[in-house]
Amino acid sequence: MAIVEVINVTYKYPFTDSPALQNINLQVDEGEFVAIIGPNGAGKSTLCYTLAGFVPHFFKGELTGTVEVAGNESSQSTLHEWVLNVGLAFQNPFNQISGAKYTVFEELAFGLENIGVPRDEMRARVEGALELTGISDLADRSPYSLSGGQQQRVALASILVMQPKVLVLDEPTSQMDPIGTREVFGVIRKMAGQGMTVILVEHKVEWIAQFADRVIALKDGQILLDGSPPEVLTSPILEGSGFGISRYTSVARRAQELGLWKKDRLPVTLDEAVEGFSLALTLRHSLWSQRGALPSPTGGGEQPS
C-alpha cells in the first residue's frame, strides 16, 4: 500500500533559473526502506524538504505536481500539520538541537510540548524514543555535552517521539566518525526493522546494499534509476557520473574486462565480492591444474569442490 506518492513534481527555488527537481514521480509503500543516492547538487536535499513539506511552505518558490502522504496532500495542509506525517532529520546534529532545553529528556519533550501532548503521554513517548534509539542512559545529560553520534541519535529520537508516519533522513552519517556512523545506522536499521517507512539519503552504498529495499539514483533534479539495490548499484549508468559506487563494484567491473570476474552480476558488498572472486580464482585454479600447470596457491581461498 503506497503511503507516499509523489506525482509529477517540479520545483524551483525562489530567484533561481533552473528547477531543482524535474518531473519526479515516485511511490513508497508502507514499511519500505528506500535509499536515495546522487552527487551533490542532484536535488536530494530538495527532495527531502519536499517530502517533509518545507517545500513549498518554508522555502516558497514554484512547486507543481502533488506530494501525498497517507492520503493527505502537502500543499493543502500547513507545515505544522504536515510534520506529524513526515519526520525529517539531517546532516549536522548540532543544528538540530533546539538550544532551549537542558537535558536530553526535555529536549525530546520539546516537540511534544509544542503540539500540546498531555504530560503523562509525553513522558511515556519520550521514554519509548530513548529506548528505541539506545540513549536511555543519556537522558539527564546536556545535549551539548554529547559526542556526534550521540547527538545525532538525540536528533533522531526527537523526531521519532513525534510519531511520524514516514521518516526522511538526509545524510545523517555524513558528519559522523566511524563509531557515530555505526551507532546511527544501528538505529535506522532498527526503525526499518520495526516497519517504519524510511527514506534515507546516503553515500555509503555498501550499507545501503545490505539493508535497503530499494534504491533511487537522482541526478540534476531527475530520477535516473529506481529499482532494487543490486540492479541500481551495479548499473553502468552510475560509473563516472559522480555517484559513490562501491569499490567492490568498480574493481569487479575492471576485473570483468580482464576476464577475472566470471559472474554476471557485479558485487556491491564485501561478501558478494569475496564470493565472486573466490569463484573466479577457483575456476582459474582448476583450469590451470587441468592444463597441468600448478601455480603457487594463494592460500586461504576456497578449495575446489
Binding site: N40, Q175, G244, R247, Y248, F277, G299, G300
Partner: protein, 265 residues
C-alpha cells in the same frame, strides 16, 4: 622542509593530557595520513605544527624553526592548514579576493599574488568562479575555495583536517587530484582523516594514534595490514584491503591497481 617532533607532551588548560610523548620525523615531500578515533590526539598533534598550540613539554621544529619562537602568522609561511569548515574562514566579496588573502598576508608582491591565485584556482577547478561571492556557491565549491586559499600560500607543508567529511565522490576526487598535484611539486602533505579508503589511495605513510600516543607508524600497506591493532582503535581497513585479506592474498593491497595485480598472480 623537514618536521621534527621531539618527545611532545601536551596538556590542555582544563587539565586533560592529550599527548603523551610523541616523537616523529617527517621528511620533506612525504605524504602522511594520521588516523585514529576521535579523542586520540590527532588534531592536537597537528595544531602544534603551525604553532596554534605550544608544547607543554618537548619540542616541535619546522625546518630550522622552533614553533614556540614564531607566531602562528609567521609559521603560516611554512605550514598551510586547511580547516574543516570552510564557512569558518570565508568572508571576502569574491573568490579571487578570498584566495588572495593568504598570500597577501605572507607579503608576496602584487604580481606574485596574482599568479599564485591563478594557479590555485586552476588546481581547484575554480577559474571560472573568480568573480563569484563565496556564499553564492554551494558548500561543495566553498570547500574548494577554502582549499585554494591555502594552496595559494605556496607553503612547503600543507595540512588537511578531515578534508573528505561530508563531501561527495566528485569533490573527494578533486581533493585527491589536489593532493597529487601538491605531491608532484614536492610539498609535504599531511592529513587527518576518518576515510580509510581515501587514506589508502592517496598517502604513502600512515600514523595511527590512540590515547595521545602513536600506535603504528609506517608505510601504508604495512600499517593497514595490521587489523588486530587497528581494531583496538576502531579503524577498519580499506575495502579492497579487506577483500584481499578474505581472498587470502599474501600482500596487503590498498587500491585497485594493487588488487588487480595480486589477483592476476
Amino acid at each position: 622542509m623537514n618536521i621534527e617532533i621531539r618527545d611532545l607532551h601536551f596538556t590542555y588548560p582544563a587539565g586533560v593530557q592529550a599527548l603523551h610523548g610523541i616523537s616523529l620525523n617527517i621528511a620533506s615531500g612525504e605524504q602522511v595520513a594520521i588516523i585514529g578515533q576521535n579523542g586520540a590526539g590527532k588534531t592536537t598533534l597537528v595544531k602544534h605544527l603551525n604553532g596554534l598550540l605550544p608544547p607543554t613539554r618537548g619540542q616541535v621544529l619546522v625546518g630550522d624553526w622552533d614553533t614556540t619562537k614564531h607566531s602562528v602568522a609567521k609559521l603560516a609561511a611554512r605550514v598551510g592548514y586547511v580547516f574543516q569548515n570552510p564557512d569558518e574562514q570565508l568572508f571576502s566579496k569574491n573568490v579571487g579576493v578570498e584566495v588572495a588573502f593568504g598570500p597577501r598576508n605572507l607579503g608576496f608582491t602584487g604580481e606574485q599574488v596574482h599568479s599564485l591565485v591563478k594557479d590555485a584556482l586552476a588546481m581547484t577547478e575554480l577559474s571560472d568562479k573568480t568573480e563569484t561571492n563565496p556564499y553564492d556557491l554551494s558548500p561543495t565549491w566553498r570547500k574548494m575555495v577554502a582549499l585554494a586559499s591555502v594552496i595559494a600560500m605556496d607553503t612547503p607543508i600543507v595540512i588537511f583536517d578531515e578534508p573528505t567529511t561530508g563531501q561527495d565522490v566528485m569533490n573527494i576526487t578533486r581533493i585527491a587530484h589536489v593532493i597529487k598535484a601538491l605531491r608532484e611539486r614536492g610539498k609535504t602533505v599531511m592529513t587527518i582523516t576518518h576515510d580509510i579508503d581515501f587514506c589508502a589511495e592517496n598517502f604513502e605513510r600512515v600514523i595511527a594514534m590512540a590515547q595521545g600516543k602513536v600506535l603504528l607508524d609506517g608505510k601504508t600497506n604495512e600499517v593497514l595490514g595490521q587489523d588486530e591493532i587497528l581494531a583496538t582503535t576502531y579503524v577498519e581497513p580499506p575495502q579492497l584491503t579487506r577483500l584481499g585479506k578474505r581472498l587470502g592474498f599474501k600482500d596487503v593491497v590498498r587500491n585497485q591497481e594493487e588488487f588487480l595485480a595480486a589477483l592476476k598472480k
